[in-house]
């Protein structure tokens, strides 16, 4: 029996609103996926632990605080340390285009800029599942 695509949507860092993350979560759900939402202010350790317990194929992180250059590499490092770098990571929020190459070098699979159509995020997850 075929499994469902499971995605963890996380909101790390200290910034306090998660509207964007919730909209993405809803879109993925409407596309037939099982989306685990973990709430605000997650540390990289919490995110990776949750992703492993939930056996997701993807982690999507929304970051508005500007801390993306530390948070993403930290999550990638923890995944690798635990032999779980089969989990694919993508991101969104407000991330300057200049920072994207650095994040991708660190193993982040895709970074979506503000205003990216939700269909594009859905397409990305489906194609890489």
């Amino acid at each position: 029996m075929a499994g469902k695509i499971r995605v963890l949507i996380a909101k790390p860092g200290l910034d306090g609103h998660d509207r964007g993350a919730k909209v993405v979560a809803q879109a993925l759900k409407d596309a037939g996926m099982e989306v685990i939402y973990t709430g605000l202010r997650q540390t990289p350790e919490q995110i990776v632990n949750a992703a492993i317990q939930e056996d997701v194929s993807f982690i999507g992180m929304s970051i508005l605080s500007g801390a993306h250059n530390t948070l993403f590499p930290k999550v990638m490092k923890l995944l690798k340390e635990n032999d779980c770098d089969n989990i694919k990571v993508f991101g969104g929020g407000v991330i300057p285009a200049d920072d994207i190459p650095f994040l991708k070098e660190n193993g982040v699979m895709e970074v979506f800029g503000p205003g990216t159509p939700l269909t594009e995020v859905v397409k990305f997850v489906k194609e890489n599942a």
């Binding site: 499994g3 759900k29 409407d30 685990i36 939402y37 492993i52 317990q53 056996d55 032999d83 779980c84």
Partner: protein
């Protein structure tokens, strides 16, 4: 480093959730020569009553000296089959506690408050020697009573303004409660009213075990010690009265055999040769064969 067994359990659960027959066989084998001490606590009640927040409180206390697993089930969308699983939000403080394993499940459009694979997933945690499995049901339906077949103790969580909910729930859900919880007691007057309604109901429906009613405020952690005490009392009661559990075990076994038969038959159906299926399909469309006749023919090819 996260313990390797966590990764192993997690991947195993995925296979079990997808009802992979080989994984289910491995599970049965592992449990065969095992005397499990795992206690399963079911938590049901209307949406928003505070089931997840209260689960969080229970984890906080129980995980100090025990291994605690949580299985939290949310409804799938009828339209997309997808699901938004948000119960973890209330339990995030335990994400990195090595004694705690939280798994969110979609009900995958199964009725009854659990997903079809939930009982097997509970058993995975038994196989890995968890002390407690807390199961949070979907909490939407009025007839979410499957949980009683798979728990040692069922908690029904109500919020203060539950008078109407209780009308809607009818007897079924009330009858399966071993412990009643009136949560959000920080909202004073209303809570008292709900408490009285339950108390009256309990008096009118006497049983071998008279379910206690506990007032809690999950958000402030109030009443949780008393709740744990009552859960323990019920546990002691079923240990001392094994016959009480007989009916429950019978329901559980029936449910399980039926579900596994369905699973095996579905697997057989999936083995039907697509070409042969297409031939039959064509014939039914053209009115040369009746659907029942076609089904009989196709099944004969794969059964036995």
């Amino acid at each position: 480093m996260i313990d390797k067994s966590v990764i192993e359990i997690s991947r195993f659960i995925t296979k079990v959730e997808n009802q992979d027959v080989e994984a289910l066989e491995v599970l049965e084998k592992r449990l065969k020569e095992k005397d499990t001490k795992t206690r399963v606590i079911g938590i049901t009640g209307p949406p928003g009553a505070g089931k997840s927040t209260l689960t969080n409180c229970l984890i906080r206390k129980l995980s100090k000296d025990s291994k605690v697993a949580v299985v939290a089930i949310d409804p799938a969308s009828l339209f997309s089959d997808g699901a938004l699983l948000g119960d973890r939000v209330r339990m995030q403080e335990h994400s990195t506690n090595p004694n705690v394993f939280i798994r969110s499940l979609s009900n995958r459009n199964c009725l009854g408050g659990l997903s079809a694979a939930t009982p097997d997933i509970i058993r995975v945690f038994m196989a890995y020697d968890y002390d407690y499995v807390i199961v949070e049901t979907v909490g939407v339906g009025q007839d979410e009573i499957d949980i009683v077949k798979f728990s040692d103790t069922v908690m029904l969580v109500l919020h203060p303004a539950s008078g109407d909910d209780m009308q809607a729930m009818k007897a079924g859900v009330m009858e399966i409660a071993d412990v009643f919880v009136v949560n959000k007691c920080d909202i004073k007057n209303e809570a008292e009213k709900t408490f009285n309604v339950i108390e009256y109901w309990v008096r009118m429906n006497p049983r071998d075990w008279n379910p206690p009613i506990v007032k809690t405020s999950a958000i402030e952690g109030e009443g949780v010690d008393i709740l744990i005490e009552k859960l323990q009392l019920h546990h002691d009661f079923i240990i001392e009265n094994p016959d009480i559990n007989f009916r429950r075990n019978q329901l559980r076994a029936k449910h399980e055999i039926t579900q596994k038969m369905q699973l095996l038959i579905e697997k057989k159906i999936s083995q039907i040769n697509p070409k042969e299926y297409d031939i039959m399909l064509e014939k039914v469309i053209k009115n040369q064969t009746r659907p029942l006749e076609a089904a009989n023919h196709l099944l004969k090819g794969v059964l036995l």
